[in-house]
Symmetry: C3
């Protein structure tokens, strides 16, 4: 079950990367690289910073195949993807929650402090998109517009609250994932936004 | 003593990151991330490249708390920070010299060649700002305008000259730090600049 | 022989970085950093991701000296470099093939899957240029215009085909290098391009 939603999340991230790259009129190779980086960039940054190398996607080729699949789907259906907007949004939201949980888990296994684990969860889920935006020469969208990283951090905090209450691991993951998914759907449908910080 | 100025330096770097991010109208989360990256980005890059992982701020939470403090100060006083311009400049200059020394020291401990140690010192002090500028979609300011990295390199060379003369470690750090601070103050007050390289 | 072309490749990459940085009117320090990053950025990223730290150029100072040489040559001859355009293109092409082979080899030594090795070869040869373009605030040129990474991937695939046919290592390297060099010369002289992916 967990594995299936990780698959959906990876494909969704690869498609989202492909779409951003196409909107910048990149060539197919460029589109593929951006798809790749969007899907695995956050986890790569995390693995490099905690010293788990070679990084995950080098040892588990499933990621590579899933990204190729997402890239091909994006190429084939690029004129029709707007119709799947809601499905894509849902996959992306699922990816957000799963990747946050994976990052939290890795932090725990490495014996790091809960605050650092929350940072790792947020990094895993969000920084693929940050690198995507940098490569496309944009200020990263999560710094500007949408409640996205905030959801990851809230999910991480809930994770450690439930852990302190000794909720068992399976149930805990489900609760955190559902919480994040509902939070994101509400945030997007109700247009919750963080305001920019003004100096004047 | 050394520790206190490291604290001042970290806070100064976090404030400088916050100010840059606010000028780009980022949301509070974006401002925080930029503050974080400005303060620890250089050291993170250094640790990852020499293989000291998990990177420093994951093991020593002081950095995280200091950055939160700098971020909160920048938020609260954002309309009045211009009045503290000179204090901020001094803290930033202190940070520059301390982080250079930390980088040099880490290079030595890793058994690297003096030239590489100088590169690590410069990286530790300057590359947080480089990553800050990339995330804010600017050409890094230290490549364009100010004598900044040059001071780090000069400090690094002085460090190894004094070491060759067998000056004791404490004294050596103080001399190098004072040299860099004076150099920077002179460079800014007298508007020393490197000229761009022209091809025509 | 292999070593000599690695030297030529490193110098060529350092010159190409210097030229890009000069066209952005950076100061000499900025030009040097961009030269450095262009020459060793790809290999650094590779070493960090597979966990071979300290990264190569920290242990082998030859790289540093060669980059300084390339930087000085670019500074001295900056007004006349257009005359050496063809030599520079050839050196760059040689660098492309050598760095791809080095990346492939490192992947094999680390025991990684052929697909990942091809990715590492491409990364070694191309990502110095990607980081150069990001630091200069451009969308990386290899995502937009030229058949460049495609050649690295084709070279990597040929490498493993020949390996499967049990061609001996020396001969294999020569064949792959010659193939890549001819491919690139043909691609540039005949203006082969990948078309951007259009969504409308």
């Amino acid at each position: 079950m967990f594995h299936i939603i990780e698959i959906l999340g990876t494909i969704a991230f690869a498609i989202s990367g492909s779409l951003t790259a196409m909107s910048k009129k990149l060539d197919p190779f460029g589109v593929f690289i951006i798809a790749f980086v969007t899907a695995v960039g956050g986890g790569t940054l995390r693995d490099v910073m905690i010293g788990q190398t070679p990084v995950a996607w080098m040892k588990q080729l499933d990621y590579v195949y899933l990204i190729i699949l997402g890239f091909v789907l994006a190429l084939l259906f690029r004129k029709k993807l707007d119709r799947f907007r809601i499905s894509l949004f849902l996959f992306d939201t699922i990816g957000l929650s799963v990747f946050t949980l994976i990052g939290l888990q890795k932090g725990l296994e490495t014996g790091l402090h809960p605050i650092i684990c929350v940072a790792l969860g947020t990094m895993t889920a969000c920084f693929g998109g940050v690198i995507r935006d940098i490569l496309c020469n944009e200020i990263p969208v999560i710094f500007r517009r949408e409640i996205y990283a905030t959801i990851c951090m809230a999910g991480g905090i809930l994770f450690f609250l439930l852990k302190a209450l000794k909720v068992n691991d399976e149930l805990l993951s489900v609760i955190v994932a559902v919480f994040m998914i509902v939070f994101r759907i509400l945030a997007v449908t109700r247009k919750w936004r963080l305001q920019p910080v003004e100096r004047q």
